[in-house]
């Protein structure tokens, strides 16, 4: 899309995320590899504020489709905190082809790091191709159930994002947290109700998953459903081993 004057870029609540309002209205992230898209998404060029020489800089944003990404849907749904910002280290479980991972890599920037874990080989190949251009993404084609297999690649992280759509998702997340998540770090989990228990009511499934997290020393902070972008999905944000509350 050309013609920067016709676009308004609004800073989002979450650092590194923006809202573009033009002929379209879209969630966008600042493209760390200008001129290149990852999965055929739209790019929006805008004239930025003038640089030190007084010449206006060109900024490029990539559209982040909430109908394809649970994290984007959660952001537009009004999540309080995604716990990802420039400089964060994120472990991303269930990276698939790396479409959302590329946006997370835009958010954390060159100082941050995204460890993207995907088990299937075919999407794993796309993930690796994406990581070739984005040096802050470390692709790992392994089973997230066995964090031991990739413990040599992953350091301590600030946040774990999980979108694995498996019945034992809570167990997978806690296992990875025990290995890689710092105390007081956060998990952001996307839950697909029908993947956990297709017979129970979605609300009950979410509640059960939150219970499971609490048993694993997570303290839930918030939970939100993803309508109108997804049906019977929820995102739960929790803290891992929070510091004990000081008495006043």
């Amino acid at each position: 899309m050309k013609g920067g004057a016709k676009v308004i870029i609004e800073a989002h609540r979450h650092e590194g995320v923006f809202i573009a309002r033009s002929k379209e209205d879209a969630l966008v992230t600042l493209n760390s590899t200008p001129g290149k898209d990852v999965y055929g998404e739209k790019r929006i060029q805008v004239e930025g504020p003038p640089g030190p020489e007084g010449v206006a800089t060109k900024l490029e944003y990539r559209v982040w489709n909430p109908f394809r990404s649970k994290l984007a849907a959660a952001i537009l749904g009004g999540v309080d905190h995604i716990w990802m910002k420039p400089g964060s280290k994120v472990l991303y479980l269930g990276a698939a082809s790396g479409t959302t991972v590329s946006h997370v890599s835009d958010i954390v920037g060159p100082a941050g790091c995204v460890y993207a874990v995907e088990f299937s080989h075919r999407p794993g190949r796309d993930l690796i191709n994406m990581a070739k251009l984005r040096t802050n993404v470390i692709p790992i084609v392994e089973d997230a159930r066995h964090p031991l297999k990739y413990r040599m690649l992953v350091g301590m992280v600030d946040t774990i994002f999980a979108d694995v759509a498996q019945p034992d998702q809570a167990r997978i997340v806690s296992l990875n947290s025990h290995y890689f998540l710092k105390n007081g770090g956060h998990v952001v989990i996307s839950i697909k109700a029908s993947c956990i228990d297709s017979t129970a009511a979605p609300e009950a499934v979410f509640q059960k998953e939150v219970k499971k997290l609490q048993e694993e020393k997570f303290k839930p902070l918030e939970q939100l459903t993803l309508e109108p972008y997804e049906r019977d999905h929820a995102v739960v944000v929790a803290t891992y081993r929070p510091a004990p509350k000081t008495k006043k």
Partner: protein
């Protein structure tokens, strides 16, 4: 005919018919023998038909009866015989229906694809939230005193704006909004956006109705196929009728 071949051996004079004399040009082309034969044949055929109809009318039985009479009716003074049933064979009709189905499938795919493309850039950023957001707090007292504006650290006016509740410190930074154009430009852009949303809505709606049509066509195709069946449920609110086939043992 004797000597026929010999007669044919000698070149005969071809009789040329004269054309219309210049003095009689105003009467048009002069009729030739060929034309006369055609005209005469036509006249004979028509007079024969008329004669036969007259004869039929003369010999008509006033008490005659045909079953077609029971199907015929008079509508606004005009007698109508019920038209014959569709005369195409069964398998031809079945083939035509599969082609119709393919056309509808293609049209639907077009709409779905275009809607997807539009949807990639139109994220339904509206004030009213369609989802449910739960915030977990530690004590009952905190539930009582929960203040969304304070919790989200934003301006109270922006609390309902779920897609973006900027923090107060974000609002204060100078680069929070980039690329503001003039008011006229803004209006034009907004109009274009509203148009795009309308188009998206229409395409989504149409792809749904195409889907319904396809379901009906599929049932129709199945019904035209083999096997004994009976209707289990009537068609209602957009859903096709449900048929049940008699089970047949496979060899």
């Amino acid at each position: 005919m004797p000597y026929a071949s010999l007669r044919n051996a000698i070149p005969r004079k071809t009789n040329k018919e004269r054309s219309q004399p210049a003095a009689r040009k105003k009467f048009g082309l002069l009729e030739k023998h060929k034309d006369y034969v055609q005209r005469a044949n036509d006249y004979k055929r028509k007079s024969k038909a008329l004669a036969s109809l007259r004869e039929k009318a003369a010999f008509r039985n006033p008490d005659e009866f045909y079953f077609a009479m029971t199907k015929g009716q008079t509508k606004e003074g005009v007698h109508r015989v019920r038209p014959a049933e569709a005369s195409l064979p069964h398998d031809h009709i079945a083939l035509l229906k599969t082609q119709d189905m393919r056309y509808v499938t293609m049209k639907r795919a077009l709409d779905v694809k275009k809607a997807e493309k539009l949807q990639a850039g139109l994220h339904f950023l509206t004030e009213e939230a369609a989802n449910k957001h739960t915030v977990f707090v530690d004590t009952e007292a905190e539930v009582e005193t929960f203040d969304p504006a304070k919790h989200f650290g934003t301006d109270p006016a922006l609390v309902t704006r779920a897609f973006n509740r900027p923090k107060l410190e974000t609002l204060e930074t100078p680069g929070a909004v980039l690329g503001v154009a003039n008011v006229g430009e803004l209006k034009k852009v907004r109009k274009a956006r509203e148009k795009a949303y309308t188009e998206l809505g229409e395409r989504l709606k149409r792809s749904l109705s195409f889907k319904e049509v396809l379901e009906h066509m599929q049932v129709e195709k199945n019904v035209m196929g083999k096997g004994r069946k009976r209707k289990v449920q009537e068609a209602e609110d957009g859903k096709p009728a449900v048929f049940k086939w008699k089970r047949e043992r496979r060899k």
